[in-house]
């Protein structure tokens, strides 16, 4: 059953990162446009859909693997989201935040695999 791991974990991770980016974009837009704006609704709907896909995939993985085995892969989401927020959302990512995100990612992986 190892192939599921290599297929489902990248999909789950991608769904999670996409979900966070959509939600952030939607909530940021809502400050100026309100919640009835079609663009805001679309961003939030895509975000919730992506997070739902991630949730179901995680349930599927957790049913067969220990949390300590699945969770380290989630650790990479910190650095991926930080970089994606800088590249896609144009957020300012300085050296301190980058090192912070890298250390948190590495720490989560270490905590999870121990």
């Amino acid at each position: 059953m190892k192939w599921q791991l290599f297929v489902l974990i990248p999909i789950a991770l991608t769904a999670f990162v996409n979900g966070q980016l959509f939600l952030k974009r939607g909530m940021e837009s809502s400050r100026a446009r309100g919640f009835r704006d079609r663009k805001v609704i679309t961003f939030l709907a895509c975000g919730i859909l992506s997070m739902t896909v991630h949730f179901l995939l995680m349930l599927g993985l957790l049913a067969h693997f220990d949390l300590s085995f699945v969770y380290p892969f989630q650790g990479f989401s910190v650095i991926i989201i930080s970089v994606a927020a800088a590249v896609i959302l144009r957020e300012r990512l300085n050296l301190r935040l980058t090192i912070g995100a890298l250390l948190i990612s590495a720490g989560i992986v270490l905590v999870s695999i121990s």
């Binding site: 349930l59 957790l62 930080s82 935040l97």
Partner: protein, 135 residues
């Protein structure tokens, strides 16, 4: 980043803390519920759908919705590149609460991981704290 930021109970940093507590609870319930329902169907259990038969998973889903709403509120005011790393304090709280409350053993490697996360969190939070002081 913090202009027009609500104060009091609506403070996004406070809501971020509440969101972390909700995530902590739902992750534990999610794991327990998924394990409970793992043997119902070998094929469908991979999709996560069999886990929906567990009441713990439904409780986890309620907490997940609460945490999602809190998270949406946080995202309205705090940059994702700051809020998301800070929210991962939950990865330190889980092993620490197991150690403190359940008396579970924490290996040296896990202590190193906890230390790395804490240093990373301090690095991420420091500029935010300075910014808050100035305002």
């Amino acid at each position: 980043m913090t202009k027009n930021k609500p104060s009091g109970l609506g403070n996004p940093w406070l809501i971020l803390g509440f969101e972390v507590i909700c995530v902590l609870a739902y992750e534990l319930l999610q794991k327990r519920g998924a394990t409970e329902a793992a043997n119902l169907s070998q094929v469908w259990s991979w999709t996560g759908l069999t886990a929906l038969t567990s009441s713990l998973v439904w409780l986890a889903m309620i907490l997940m919705i609460v945490s999602l709403l809190s998270w949406l509120y946080v995202l309205r005011y705090i940059p994702l590149s700051v809020a998301f790393p800070l929210s991962r304090i939950v990865d330190v709280l889980v092993p620490l609460s197991c150690w403190l409350v359940l008396g579970e053993h924490i290996s040296p490697r896990r202590w190193c991981g906890i230390a790395l996360v804490v240093i990373g969190l301090l690095l991420t939070a420091k500029p935010v704290a300075h910014l808050e002081e100035k305002l």
